[in-house]
Symmetry: C2
Subunit: 202 residues, 2 copies
């Protein structure tokens, strides 16, 4: 609301990015006008053009900014645990689920990006997926997980099961017999972990 006492282009950029992220993620790029973003962030519409050039460029900047923060947090999460053990996968799923639970804007951002079919964004988390798949592969070689499935598909599946739960939450919350976040997570983990156990344990 209150504008900064002195000129601060970095803060201005940040305020615009924050407001744009919130609005874009809520209503989609075409559903938001630069005037709304200007009003929300407390700056002039012209100033947005000055700092970002165009609406399209602003959207690109918003995606890059939010995605890089997302990638940083997830990368830190992955690198915190170096040695694969039996509980690593379960813990990773749990943490990713909790992460999405606390950051609904990330869930919606990803959903918009998917609908855009923005192929450039796939490069942004490719490294993340590569790292996750590598952990799965290590666990497979250690005999902790079945080795007849593609590690990348395992990562993909668990990302899908978590993100889609929150993306479609308003939709399937009315389904008969559906449980809350924790109950869904528990059932998913039961099925997922049992399905990934090595053959000799089945």
């Amino acid at each position: 609301m209150d504008s900064p006492a002195t000129r601060d282009p970095d803060l201005t950029r940040a305020r615009i990015l924050d407001a744009a992220l919130a609005l874009f993620v809520e209503h989609g790029v075409t559903g938001v006008s630069l005037r709304e973003i200007a009003e929300t962030s407390g700056v002039t519409k012209s100033l947005i053009h000055h700092h970002f050039g165009s609406k399209e460029a602003l959207w690109t900047a918003v995606k890059a900014h939010a995605f890089s923060r997302y990638a940083e947090e997830q990368m830190a999460e992955l690198e915190a645990r170096q040695v694969p053990d039996t509980s690593l996968l379960q813990t990773s799923v749990l943490r990713y689920f909790r992460f999405l639970q606390q950051r609904p804007e990330v869930v919606r951002l990803l959903a918009w990006i998917h609908l855009e079919a923005d192929e450039g964004c796939s490069e942004m988390d490719a490294e993340l997926v590569r790292l996750g798949a590598e952990r799965i592969r290590q666990a497979q070689q250690a005999g902790l997980l079945r080795d007849d499935v593609n590690p990348t598909h395992v990562v993909t599946l668990f990302v899908h099961a978590c993100s889609q739960w929150f993306t479609a939450k308003a939709h399937h919350s009315g389904w008969p017999g559906i449980g809350d976040d924790q109950a869904y997570l528990d059932d998913f983990l039961r099925i997922f972990m049992a399905g990934l156990a090595p053959p000799e344990e089945r």
Copy 2:
């Protein structure tokens, strides 16, 4: 392209609905103008207002129309098989996957609906989910599936795993090590079916 020789309001409505579905699903409601829909369907913009009242009402009609067709096809699919057996779940997953594979507009329609958080739409497939969950429950009671998981969550999980694969396809097709539709489906089914097997078989 060519307009009907005589006046045919039903055909006109259908042409508008078809064009609107294609455009809405591709660019989103706010990304499409009534003028584009009018031009694509070969009618006047005023005629759209005459038949549907407003852009919002047209979108509602498009959703209801497409969704009812989707529900019909899926309901027929479910009711075709009455007796639960060991291969029913696997077959259902496979057919649902193939269904989405051949109807990309359904995938995108669902994705838009999810982003809208239109809770009214959840009623449309609640019956579908209820029926699917009932089949799972029957299989559980017959000892064909583990019974310590919520049947509705099983349905939800397999719907998520299938639909999100196609929704995010453009995004994760660039991920290192990812396979094609069939390879992903195979791996998912391996994990899913093994994870749902009753305890004594593990």
